[in-house]
Symmetry: C2
Subunit: 407 residues, 2 copies
């Protein structure tokens, strides 16, 4: 497949180079070449991109796709009311409804230019099916919560994790996710650590979403949640720490030392009133990779990473009284490069270059992205665009969306 | 024209009634009737709205459309750098460029479901032309700044304010806008007060955008800016106070007493780091009407009131640690009813009922607005939708946008 005459290509390479009027040649699931005047074999697809902005597919580093049918059921309520309402409804969802919600979420994500989701849920089989059917790329983290936790050594889990279908399916990578420090016993978290080591699985956890969690864990365990996880050996280069709103500098040092990653979910945090603001500046200073996630549609209530990028930028400018923080390029990196790095895919996803996986999206140039010139394109993507501006979506070399319609 | 079988109609009446499967009959520029099984004369347009959400056209209560070509020229910079850069470029815009920028802004607004804009600029003639050409409804406030101020009594201004073209054009209402308490001399503001009284013109002003303004005016005038304007007689029922981030309770009492209105611009305030957060709760308690505005595309950087509603909700929930504040209905009211009230059009705009002006918008129901049911429709509009979801736009009884295409 050839993307011909791309008006602008945001490579997201080390220099954040923006190329003009180039072609992108895709072979199988890989980008073969980016350059001028590239040729394609007969019978291969050619997409005219002369009035398109082209960039790497976005990476949504935290979702709960199974909750897809719960969008808008419970808003503007106190957290405990919201939780009781949503969890109550969640318990009643059938496997079929989990599949339908997940499929809607996969398709909404693709429609909005997200080519990879990192999802956390249990049961996950319906979501895995939706991922396969929709064509999106995913990391699927089985969620463990004390009360409703699958037995790690059960045949069912082993079978699911190692099923031929999933193993063979290069768009799915499995992982493990203890819900949170307060939602799992120490024993359960330790079990997950050793199991994930044995099977070489990535890990995800909700961490420091509220101030209450910080106080509770400190009182119970004698240490802050980040330190508690560090001391247990939970933190390493394949660990994603979601929310991380209330972390202290002490915890940030440990996270940085262990090479763990943070997933920022600003819309969800603001909507559910986590209070405070995730210490982005301090994380940047500590050298921690910050990716971006929408959280579920029950707390956002959409899966639009363009909106998430803009809100992230606004929140931190507002919070620090500093317009230079969370600049457009920084938040675009969160939704591309940093997501890839957090998922262990640095140089493979979140970037467009010869040899990277062919997850590519294009936007057309409606009125609200004009006037358009090279110096304004990153600003327009972050501050002016929305998910609906996406035109074409390619995942793993396959065209999933063309001119805003699913293929 | 008949909107047939509307799936949901948000009337925005006193009870915020949501009607299902009803027709809306429009005659000339007015809504004639809302009900079931309405009939239309032969040769009149019928729009099938059986899979549409219908609501009053949104009201953007603060824009500077003339700056349309400056989108994305200067982001992520300190305020003084931003100002110098933007004002520098602004000074170089030709009348033709002001027209082009304004026309782009009018069309972007319409495309995103905004049927009324309240604009503040000088010179305004190019914007007035764009308003006429685009079909949008507008309040146009001539901006006065000490250094670049038109002479109130000049023939040109009088001619412009009272020109037959504008007077005859029911989509344009003229007004006066001293830029800000710090940008105008006391004498100039007093001149504007008396001129606006004489001609019965509404007024708009930037107020309390930064903390610096509060300190500066207090030091210079011996009173806070809100009090300063109150004592001068600037505040009344036809005054719009834009930003109002740093107002004190004392000032809020005076604004409430005078019946003046506030225009909230959350995205611009966050992006430019005004610091602090507009005291919404305190304004609500004082009984002040709060409308919603995007500000210019140089500080937002789009004109999407759907995004603005969501960010408004998120900002105040975050700020007050209270998910019940700025609930979905409250922010939808800001962008409809409250905008109308601030412009003196209560019961005429921002509401759908027999006898109101026919400014109507429809959205289709894409994946990200599902599952859809009556109880979720307001939530979906505020938390899940974006401007691109708009399908049809009717202004003053005239179809301007149909199925996402300009007519």
């Amino acid at each position: 497949m050839l993307l011909k005459d791309c008006r602008f290509v945001l490579t997201q390479d080390a220099k954040r180079k923006i190329l003009e009027n180039v072609d992108i040649l895709i072979q199988k699931n890989t980008i073969r070449e980016i350059g001028k005047g590239l040729r394609v074999e007969k019978n291969e697809k050619v997409l005219d991109c002369s009035s398109k902005i082209v960039l790497p597919g976005l990476i949504n580093a935290h979702t709960h796709l199974g909750m897809g049918l719960l969008r808008g059921v419970s808003d503007d309520k106190e957290l405990h009311e919201w939780l009781a309402d949503v969890v109550g409804r969640e318990g009643k969802l059938t496997e079929q409804e989990l599949y339908e919600g997940s499929l809607a979420g996969c398709k909404e994500s693709l429609r909005f230019g997200t080519t990879t989701v990192a999802d956390m849920y249990y049961p996950l089989a319906p979501t895995a099916e939706a991922v396969i059917d929709s064509g999106i790329r995913s990391w699927l983290f089985i969620s463990y919560f004390n009360a409703i936790s699958p037995d790690l050594d059960s045949d069912k889990i082993r079978e699911f994790l190692l099923s031929e279908e999933h193993q063979a399916h290069r768009r799915i990578t499995m992982g493990l996710a203890p819900h949170s420090p307060y939602g799992c016993t120490e024993e359960l978290i330790k079990g997950i650590i050793s199991y994930s080591k044995k099977k070489a699985l990535p890990k995800m956890i909700h961490l420091a979403e509220t101030r209450k969690e910080q106080y509770d864990i400190k009182r119970e365990k004698g240490k802050l949640p980040g330190t508690y996880l560090y001391d247990m050996g939970f933190l390493n280069g394949s660990t994603l720490l979601v929310h991380s709103v209330w972390l202290t500098k002490e915890e940030l040092r440990m996270i940085a030392k262990a090479g763990a990653h943070v997933v920022h979910c600003p819309v969800s945090n603001m909507k559910l009133c986590s209070g405070g603001v995730m210490p982005l500046k301090e994380m940047q200073k500590a050298g921690i990779t910050v990716a971006l996630g929408t959280d579920s549609v029950a707390s956002n209530n959409n899966l639009d990473l363009f909106e998430e990028m803009k809100v992230a930028a606004l929140l931190h400018k507002q919070h620090y009284w500093d317009p230079t923080i969370a600049d457009a390029q920084t938040v675009l990196d969160m939704a591309t490069l940093n997501g890839a790095k957090a998922l262990g895919m640095e140089g493979k996803l979140g970037i467009l270059a010869a040899g990277t996986l062919a997850d590519v999206i294009t936007l057309d140039i409606p009125l609200h992205l004009t006037p358009l010139e090279k110096a304004r394109v990153v600003s327009h993507l972050v501050y002016s665009a929305n998910g609906n501006d996406i035109c074409d979506v390619i995942v793993d070399g396959k065209l999933v969306l063309r001119e805003k319609e699913f293929c």
